[in-house]
Symmetry: C2
């Protein structure tokens, strides 16, 4: 077991020059745009030049329903990537970028953990290469153009009450959720009620992560619906001629970022959309670039497989034409015990029965993932206190499902601790892909929501609030019926009640609100309370964050 | 004359690798943190290691009162820098960074013009190295901590009506000037009225530009006064324990940015505070770094010499202990004609009498600058239509003042066109500096304002609005009496009436408001309408900005 914390390990990591990391994937040094010595963007021209290249195997790392015990999805993504590299495969890792703002509330998120981390961890949690700042600027430019349009006469006849486009900031700031702007008289415009979301909730973020290239990015930005006219017809960003300038603001951000693991495996860290109101995975452009440069690409999706993997398959893979070759479902003994009803405080003692009860959750995710035609292996991410009997219970359960399970020790041992998992993944991925999305494009929108709810969540029904059927029908009539759906619900349960762990069935899913993300290309179905601008806690982490005498950052992790 | 536009020249510029530019100043490659191939930050450790090194000569480029005709202050700064390099002097240029937001209103600002430019121009007008985004984030973190403190019980007893700290965004967005935040009920906090300024107006920007090092930066951030308690005592950022996390957000931004001119002269482009409510010059840390690496450092200050040079001398040089060796006052025949009463539409025909009348403005700036003990040379920045008689009139005027004037053609010819100016500057700067600030630190605050108004603006009096004398006295009692003053007034006239060109005297200066910038270390005296959040015009430049087929940015310039 590593006795050091993640940040202590990351701080002493000896990073190789980023050109050496690029060289492992055949990226020439002139195609790397350096940001410091250990980060680079891969130049747009080089990325575009890969069009048509043969693509490697795409491996998704997903997980059981999350609990406070932690599952280690990113850690396993990194460990598996390192292990594939160790067994001689040309490998790249693709994960999301971190949001800046939340670091000042709770402690910052590591990119992996233990000996399976991506570095430089501190910069990845702060400004990194500026992508999120660019997204913030592009989003808020559109916002400014909307209010400016109202100010100068409102030629488009936008209904100020029907403007749905808000502003964004990469900060946890609850005071900005709901506000009246435009006060102060004639020179400041027209007062109206609006608010800020956190940047990762921006549709611009989702667009950047789904766009094929800069031209597609600009088209999608233009297609954003910002609100409606007084006749209720939609107003698009292109009606305000916003998409060109927004694209200019995003042209650097569209280039994938390249960094490295502690074992110097190339890692693309690019894009970071919310996993509830958006699809929660890294950018298509990074994944595609990685696939054209590597034989194996290991990526992950947000939350558990019911939300993250479903969106990865039905939104990202469907729309980008990606065919995942295998999926790894990460479970820990501790998280299975919590899914089996154990309280966090009681995780210490051995409890094989709780593990066995919790395996119902794992079983549901295994079946769901297989339902997409994607072969599955279970990674049991080993924690110090796990007992032999508990681990054996998980392995017996998986064997009964006809699924291989592998005990992994990458947290303590790095890639060496995940070599068995790597071999299992290679074997699974050898077969031709039989991936198919859950529902066809031409299914009606409400039926798509119902399909996800019944097939994936095992719900009995979806109950839309008043007006939602009509809204979905109107979008279908306007040509948006082919879009996939993006369901925002609690990640802690298959139901909409976060306390119902395990594998609940037969529940009712309330559909409270639907939102059209016409630029990103999905319809958001909100099934529960969704917070798009977090607040800070009573004692924010910001109070303890500072530079120490060595110039290192204390308090961030 | 160059027939190409600035952007056409900049686009085809052949830039040298930034390590070669650093090498000209003896910066080792490992002390350069690359941002792409043509921009770098100079590493904090290297900068700190220069402490105690001998310093070169500091040359200020300032100008007559600005007019719509344009003076070419930055162009002359660049041209002089290139010329000094051409005549064999080890030279560095120091200018401010550009603000992102205003580019989407009017066309973006070049960094110089013609053959005297700093590149890469497009990136310098967009995200550059992310400094302004970092300043925005640090500023808004403090804002979020304030509202969060109110939300969690307001232990400091902050009076919500007396919070003066607003939020910032690098965007022209008039709807954000005045707002009520915290609407929506208990979970969103307490409603209160506030607003956004543009990022360059942030006190964090002024602090970054005046701080000696990271420790001084943190002290100054902690000293920010964000408002007052119910007992009217000041609340500081350090009371909210904000300064450590703000410093962490700014640690990269504190490192000077290195780029190059078209002739490959090293240029530090770092910091960009407003020139009205702040001091309007590039960072102390960049200037100091440049002085320790070069024999001649050419820098500029905002607006005309009455505002820009006065603040450069009385705020930046006084507080940083800098002693400028010489000043260049830039004038053009066209701008002198406008100062002599000619309308912009009538600038075409020769008008020697108008030039002679306008020279009163030049004369005032010459005398003012000399009053600081700084020797002066006048640079006549040549425009195509200037006639020989007009130029001779300026030269005769300068000769009568005992000041050398030099005709410069750097716009058309690059550094070669400013070699005579370079020789003149070297000769002036050879004498030991006799620089002294305008007023002593221990003069009362109102007397400092009156001294600037009467000695520099030639006003008859300063008329403070009700309560201002008491406010200034209260700050003196609280220990802020030693601070310099930063006067915000129109840049177009020595008076507070922007239409009074030339050299008006005997006017009255209304003092409308005073603001304490305790972190930056000055008291702002507002003498006129000051806009701290611009709006967009009826047809914003954003509508025309886009990537062209070659991937270049059209419409930005």
């Amino acid at each position: 077991m590593a006795a050091r914390t993640d940040i202590e390990i990351a701080r002493v990591a000896v990073k190789r020059p980023i050109r050496e990391i690029g060289a492992k994937l055949g990226i020439p040094v002139e195609a790397l745009i350096p940001y410091g010595h250990d980060k680079a963007k891969v130049a747009q021209g080089f990325v575009a030049g890969l069009e048509g290249q043969a693509e490697g195997k795409l491996i998704l790392v997903t997980a059981i329903s999350p609990t406070p015990a932690g599952e280690g999805k990113t850690t396993t993504t990194v460990g598996l990537g390192d292990a594939l590299a160790r067994i001689g495969k040309r490998t790249a890792i693709c994960i999301r970028e971190a949001s800046l703002g939340p670091n000042f509330g709770m402690k910052g998120g590591a990119a992996g953990g233990g000996m399976a981390q991506i570095v430089p961890m501190d910069e990845m949690n702060l400004h990194f290469t500026g992508d999120f700042h660019a997204i913030t600027a592009a989003h808020n430019l559109l916002s400014a153009l909307i209010d400016n349009h109202l100010y100068w006469g409102n030629a488009l006849d936008i209904d100020p009450r029907r403007i749905t486009w808000r502003r964004v900031m990469d900060m946890n700031d609850r005071a900005l959720r709901d506000m009246v702007v435009g006060l102060g008289g004639v020179k400041n415009g027209f007062p109206r009620q609006t608010g800020f979301d956190i940047t990762v909730a921006s549709e611009v973020m989702a667009i950047l992560c789904l766009a094929r290239d800069l031209a597609d990015l600009q088209d999608r930005l233009g297609a954003i619906v910002i609100g409606a006219r007084r006749d209720q017809s939609p107003v698009h960003a292109r009606d305000l001629k916003a998409e060109g300038a927004m694209t200019v603001l995003l042209k650097e951000a569209m280039q994938p970022n390249l960094v490295q693991t502690l074992e110097h495996t190339p890692a693309f860290v690019h894009g970071g959309p919310f996993a509830n109101i958006a699809h929660g995975c890294n950018s298509v452009i990074a994944t595609r670039t990685a696939l054209r440069l590597a034989d194996y690409v290991v990526t992950e999706a947000g939350f558990g497989a019911d939300l993250g993997a479903e969106k990865f398959f039905d939104i990202k893979c469907r729309k980008a034409g990606l065919a995942p070759a295998a999926a790894v479902i990460v479970a820990t003994v501790r998280a299975l015990k919590m899914n089996g009803g154990t309280a966090r405080a009681d995780l210490g003692p051995e409890d094989v029965a709780a593990v066995e009860r919790g395996c119902a959750n794992l079983g549901r995710h295994i079946a769901n993932t297989r339902g997409f035609g994607v072969p599955v292996v279970v990674a049991i991410n080993h924690f110090t206190g796990d007992t032999a009997a508990e681990m054996a219970a998980v392995q017996a359960f998986c064997a009964a499902q006809g699924v291989q399970s592998v005990l992994c020790r990458h947290w303590a041992e790095g890639g060496a601790g995940a070599e068995e998992l790597a071999h299992a993944v290679v074997a699974l991925a050898d077969a031709p892909s039989t991936f198919t999305p859950l529902y066809p494009d031409d299914m009606p929108l409400l039926a798509k929501i119902e399909t996800v709810a019944t097939r994936i969540y095992h719900a009995a029904e979806v109950v839309p609030e008043a007006g939602i059927r009509e809204q979905l029908a109107a979008w279908e009539a306007a040509g948006h019926g082919h879009l996939p759906v993006c369901i925002a619900k609690t990640q802690y349960s298959f139901s909409t009640d976060p306390t119902r762990r395990g594998a609940p069935s037969g529940h009712s899913v309330p559909l409270r609100e639907v939102r059209l993300a016409a630029g990103a290309g999905f319809v958001v179905a909100i099934c529960g309370e969704i917070m798009t601008m977090p607040g800070l806690p009573r004692v924010p982490a910001a109070e303890s964050i500072r530079l120490n005498a060595a110039g290192e950052i204390d308090g961030l992790f």
